[in-house]
Amino acid sequence: MTTELAGGQVVIEILYLIASVLFILSLKWMSSPTTARHGIWAGEIGMVLAIGGTLLHHGMSYRLIGIALVLGTIIGVPLGEVAMTAVPQRTALSHAFGALCVTLVGSAEFYLRAPDISRFMMAVLSLEVILGGLTVTGSLMAAGKLQEILPQRPLTYKGQNLVNFVLLAGALAIAVTLVLHPEARSLFPFMILIALTFGVLLIIPIGGADMPTVISLLNGYAGLSAAAMGFVLDSKLLIIAGALDGSSGLILSIIMSKAMNRSFANVLFGAFGQVQAASAAGGEARPVRSATPEEAAAILSAANRVIVVPGYGMAVAQAQHKVRELYDALSKRGVDVRFAIHPVAGRMPGHMNVLLAEADIPYDRLIEMDEINSDFPQTDVALVIGANDVTNPAARSDASSPIYGMPILDVDKAHTVMVIKRSMNPGFAGIDNPLYYLDNTLMLFGDAKAFVGSIVRELTGGHG
């Protein structure tokens, strides 16, 4: 870029500046549901300005660009119209697409420039393609697990961390070599290959419960690789967008890792899924109390305050619409019904909020953990639907529990706890939940959707 910008160039740069401002406003307006939709418009206008500005550059051949834009739109529309329950895998897939774009552009730039490339540029470019590459395959793996194409069970083997570490060190060693000797172009594909392999291995040991953290982390990686691409292309707009996306992903990963009581370093270095192996279920069958839909309906309708605690099980059973009917039926009887949302409930940050909003439950009824936890002692009934670890009191009291120290929803402090669960099978995590054996706990055995449906039928007098 010359120091004297041509007139057309100035216009383009100003368009990019406006786009950057709109992007920041777009995120700022996401702070509240009342302004959030302005945020989308700001983002869209910014995007149109930026792409329009780019097309203004001289000497572009538009035919191929046009075809690519149309093709992208054809793929993008169905990805924008997936069911809300499929949002976690869609999000993972879009991280993969974003990172794919960055990795391809980085690779193309390498072959256009090398060996005539400054050391700093080569270092940033390596960072771009390594982060991008591992995000591509890592996100595809995550999407596959979420879509249940791949086994969801965490797969661990001996020396896993060592293998991952050696791979990463190998990729970095190639990067250093390329920085010092950019003429060694034949090494470049190996760097990409290692990054892609590393991405796969990074996600293999991840179980479903860790997905919120992992998706956030991949989001952060995708953003950082895009920012690195901005350095390579000397594009301020891209640096800004990448920095925004990167910080968003990192903030969400920090929130998620805190909500699971993991250190951020622990998350960054991929030591997920290790909790799972510990502490199998106790074995001996302790007595639990169970109740029928009729009894549950009677208790709920006698209550003044009810807090519903949804978890991934609600999403799996597609029970959110029945839950809304329950909310309506109870509200009609004057029962105060609220929903307690644990930050890591579900498979991605905010997952439960989206599902419940889709079922038309007003968002001011969805309360965060920190805000609602002090209300449980004054609550008549806590109804747990498909949530497990996030309600496990062992996290507070049992130092030997693998989830000890994790912040939980204090449902056990409610006068009555009702837990809808398929069976006493402890499930993937294999962590026993003492909540189920408490005196004030009633187990409601059955499919979440069917059970909530039967309660609603009881409450509405047979036609529900």
Binding site: T2, L27, S31, P33, L100, V105, I215, L244, S247, V354
Partner: protein, 108 residues
């Protein structure tokens, strides 16, 4: 081309943008974390501009092919990302009448 001053400029922009991002996103309600992620995903796909250059300038076959695939991938993120974010946000409704945002509504 004065690459070292370009680099310093770029670093300034990166650090300041990261700081703004951190402050802005810290204030996003946890209620909206899912749409936040799909929105940042769409915004991040601004990487499409780099890919458009590769296709438009047609410097080599490899760069054009890579650029082409990159434009397709990024565009699908832009279109899909904005679409789904909008769909999600439309679903979030308050139980209070939407007409008057009451003064006592929770300030966060």
């Amino acid at each position: 081309m004065n690459s070292s001053s370009n680099l310093i400029n770029a670093l300034f922009i990166f650090v300041l943008a990261g700081f703004i991002g951190f402050e802005v996103i810290r204030r996003v309600s946890p209620l909206l974390h899912t749409p936040l992620m799909s929105l940042t995903n769409a915004l991040d796909a601004i990487a499409v501009v780099g890919a458009i250059f590769l296709v438009g300038e047609h410097k080599s076959t490899l760069s054009t092919v890579f650029g082409f695939v990159a434009v397709v991938a990024a565009t699908s993120n832009i279109v899909g990302g904005f679409l789904i974010t909008d769909r999600m946000l439309k679903m979030f409704k308050s139980s209070r009448p939407a007409a008057k945002p009451a003064a006592k509504s929770v300030a966060k």
